[in-house]
């Protein structure tokens, strides 16, 4: 597989880019934010995603989707990142779909059509503490009659406040810190005993804190095997991580572009600031970092799509590398914009905020660098 987009993929990019730039540019985010929109994204836009076939990008053809892969999902996510378009695409169409793809026909039939149609919003509930440590999953799922009762807390559940469906990692056996004994559940909106608090984050997106107070689910809510949820959880998270990396690439690319443009317009000391060599070298270094991150992300997506055994390593590399590159992009962006970059009027600050949330989502650069070390045996 060559490391550039195929013709079909380039076409998808040519479609997704203008679509998001027109329908959900940064102005769209500002409108949602300034009107204090309680959903955090536009349901109309989500419907449009469906009409364009984007919601089902990872859904197999037999389940009504387009049966494409992570490269294609990444193309959409990069444009989402570039435009800061608020959307449940990453959690619903990428992470949740990846989990549901591994479920039995019954569950696939129950949820996938809704996602493909743009009716269903799905959320991922994994984190329980302030840092991402899935192996520490402690939320208990205890057998109860034909099903389970879930007790515990989750946080940082993007779109959880409006999600129709929440994929929940719970512990059916073993103790926090063990891979064995985790089970994935699909929990419907409004389940009794489930309280959800939507929390506005720095980037104006909304994530939920969830309290499960003996929430009853039946056996059919289990995704995959009881106690054997670690593998599907990892698959779901890796899909989310590669997706977050792609979105960060868009954030980084847009931040760099707007900064380089600014360098070509803004004068200081009688010269365009882009003429100053120190800034030129820093911009060139940033370009280099983003290019490398782009390659790492594409490689990770390709390995996921080919079910390669090394996909997990490359996903960790992509998340860590792109996180650092995008962090550099927004930091250099703010600094090179000078005082103007500190104002809400300029967009660069919005990119910095979004980057911080994406950096944290599904494990930050440090978490993934540590994974790279562990996967390499040290």
């Amino acid at each position: 597989m060559p490391m550039f987009l195929t013709e079909d993929q380039a076409m998808l990019k040519d479609m997704a880019g203008p679509f998001l730039a027109e329908q959900a540019p940064v102005k769209h985010l500002r409108q949602l934010r300034d009107s204090n929109d309680a959903t955090g994204f536009s349901r109309d836009l989500w419907k449009q995603f469906a009409e364009m076939g984007l919601t089902g990008v990872l859904v197999p053809a037999e389940d009504g989707g387009s049966g494409l892969g992570h490269v294609e999902a990444g193309i959409v996510l990069e444009e989402i990142g570039r435009n800061l378009s608020p959307s449940p695409f990453l959690s619903s169409a990428v992470a949740a779909v990846t989990a549901l793809k591994g479920a039995d026909a019954d569950m696939r039939g129950r949820y996938l059509p809704g996602i493909v149609a743009g009716d269903t919003v799905a959320a991922i509930a994994v984190d329980e503490l302030r840092k991402h440590r899935p192996v520490e999953t402690a939320l208990r799922a205890e057998r109860s009659g034909n099903g389970f009762r879930l007790t515990g807390g989750k946080q940082f559940v993007a779109h959880g406040h409006v999600a129709d469906l929440v994929i929940v990692a719970a512990r059916t056996a073993g103790a926090a810190g063990e891979e064995q004994g985790i089970t994935l559940f699909a929990v419907d909106k409004g389940a009794a005993g489930l309280s959800v608090e939507g929390v506005r984050l720095a980037d104006s997106s909304i994530a939920a804190r969830m309290l499960f107070d003996g929430v009853a689910v039946d056996a059919g809510a289990v995704i995959g095997d009881v106690d054997g949820g670690w593998a599907p959880l990892c698959r779901m998270l890796d899909a989310g991580r590669a997706g977050a990396a792609a979105e960060m690439l868009g954030v980084a690319g847009a931040a760099m572009d707007m900064t380089v443009d600014y360098l070509k317009q803004r004068k200081q000391f009688g010269r365009l600031i882009g003429e100053f060599q120190a800034l030129q070298h820093r911009a060139a270094h940033l370009y280099s970092e983003i290019e490398i991150a782009r390659a790492a992300t594409l490689k990770a997506q390709q390995l996921l799509d080919s079910n390669d055994a090394k996909a997990d390593l490359m996903v960790a590399v992509a998340k860590a590398k792109t996180g650092r590159a995008a962090m550099l992009a927004v930091q250099e962006g703010i600094q090179m914009h000078g005082g103007m970059g500190m104002t809400d009027e300029f967009d660069i600050g919005l990119y910095m905020k979004r980057q911080r949330v994406l950096e944290e989502l599904f494990g930050d650069s440090g978490f993934h660098a540590d994974r790279v070390a562990r996967l390499n045996g040290y």
């Binding site: 984190d127 503490l129 302030r130 840092k131 991402h132 440590r133 946080q155 940082f156 929390v199 506005r200 984050l201 720095a202 980037d203 104006s204 994530a207 004068k267 200081q268 000391f269 009688g270 100053f276 120190a278 800034l279 962090m327 930091q331 703010i334 600094q335 000078g338 005082g339 970059g341 500190m342 104002t343 809400d344 009027e345 600050g349 919005l350 910095m352 905020k353 911080r356 949330v357 950096e359 944290e360 930050d364 650069s365 440090g366 978490f367 660098a369 540590d370």
Partner: protein, 387 residues
């Protein structure tokens, strides 16, 4: 007992008697009393403390008594600072008049100006703001455009300032204006005028932190009495440079020596052990730099006090201190994880943490960007050619 020792004893006793316990708790920058026509006290204790200090001239302890100051010697002023720090006393008055305009007036003002303006500052009667930056001239003050035309009996000021801190709350402004368009630095003057003058308007700037501490400030045919100029006409650059140097010194001497330098220590207290090994390592490397910088701050102050500091050293302190602080807050956000992303919740105290993080990004821009400071070091300390 030496004179100093007896001064220390008296001061300690007086502070213990006069500083209300509530004024011995740490306060945020914005919790402070800023004085001025619109000033109001957040609490009776704040008022009591301010008035007690102001009565002794101890809002400006080392200014001369004839200008409303405390008339303390440098050694006594240091003892007062030490004793206040010992008790944890808050500053009784936050004021750009004290920090910035005052020192400039003391150096460049006429006797009349000193007698007029300084006591108002000391007593917190007038709140000042600073009008330096302009939309087209951030780091590059020489390019400023705001015009002051000599109209015989007054200056006619037209133009626009930006980044005027709290201009919407200030009573008067000290302001750089162009009095000679044919020169660069040479054509600038340093004017003082009332923000209530006809033609002055302000517009707060919303920042990425969600706060609006700065304004855009507009001057539309503002008439300023001729005598409200500090220093000679077209010599405002000299005043401004002095003030910028003073500001840099102040920032570098105040901002970074205080507080807990070890971020890891602070975080471990808040969250317990730092479990992520890579984050822990990055915090440890930060703490090495932070503890080293604390030593540097101490050294710099000692050198400053004894006239041994290189005149450009404040640039180095400003550069290193602000870059370090930005890094610290990035790590603080990383350690806080998704908790630290909350923007409006009560749990997060309306997002104190992320807002402080975003606020820190201005550290390396305001008061001369990091790039400007590096250029100053290259030129004035390393003597590199063409810098």
């Amino acid at each position: 007992m030496t004179e100093d020792a007896s001064f220390r004893a008296e001061t300690r006793a007086w502070l213990e008697a006069n500083c209300p316990p509530a004024m011995r708790q740490p306060a945020g920058f914005d919790d402070a009393y800023w004085g001025g026509r619109k000033g109001h006290f957040a609490s009776p204790e704040q008022q009591q403390w301010f008035e007690a200090m102001a009565a002794r001239g101890w809002t400006v302890p080392d200014w001369p008594k004839e200008y409303g100051g405390g008339g303390l010697s440098p050694e006594q002023a240091k003892i007062l600072r030490q004793e206040m720090a010992r008790l944890g006393c808050r500053s009784p008055l936050h004021s750009f008049g004290i920090w910035m305009l005052g020192p400039a007036l003391l150096k460049f003002g006429t006797e009349e100006q000193k007698r007029h303006y300084l006591p108002e500052i000391a007593q917190g009667k007038i709140r000042w703001c600073q009008g330096y930056s302009e939309p087209g001239a951030g780091s590059d003050l020489a390019g400023l455009q705001t015009r002051a035309e000599d109209k015989g009996d007054h200056w006619l000021v037209n133009g626009q300032k930006i980044w005027t801190s709290y201009a919407d709350k200030a009573d008067w402004i000290f302001c750089l204006v162009r009095t000679d368009p044919s020169q660069k630095q040479g054509g600038i003057s340093f004017l003082l005028f009332d923000m209530a003058s006809p033609g002055v308007s302000t517009k707060p700037i919303l920042l990425i932190s969600g706060y609006s501490p700065f304004c855009e400030t507009f001057f539309d045919n503002v008439e300023v009495p001729k005598e409200q100029i500090v220093g000679a006409v077209n010599q405002g650059w000299t005043v401004a440079k002095y003030l910028l140097g003073h500001e840099r010194e102040m920032i570098s001497s105040m901002g970074f020596a205080a507080g807990e330098p070890s971020l890891g220590h602070q975080l471990a207290g808040e969250y317990g052990p730092i479990e992520d090994p890579v984050l822990r390592a990055e915090i440890a490397l930060h703490d090495v730099d932070a503890l080293a910088f604390r030593a540097m701050s101490e050294k710099f102050l000692d050198e400053l006090k004894h006239g041994r500091a290189h005149p450009a050293q404040p640039s180095m302190m400003k550069y290193a201190g602000t870059e370090l602080n930005k890094r610290r807050l990035e790590l603080d956000m990383a350690a806080g994880g998704s908790d630290a992303l909350e923007w409006e919740s009560a749990r997060s105290e309306q997002g104190t943490r992320p807002r402080a993080w975003l606020r820190s990004k201005a550290n390396s821009i305001e008061g001369g960007t990091s790039e400007v400071q590096l250029g100053i070091i290259a030129k004035h300390i390393l003597n590199l050619p063409g810098a």
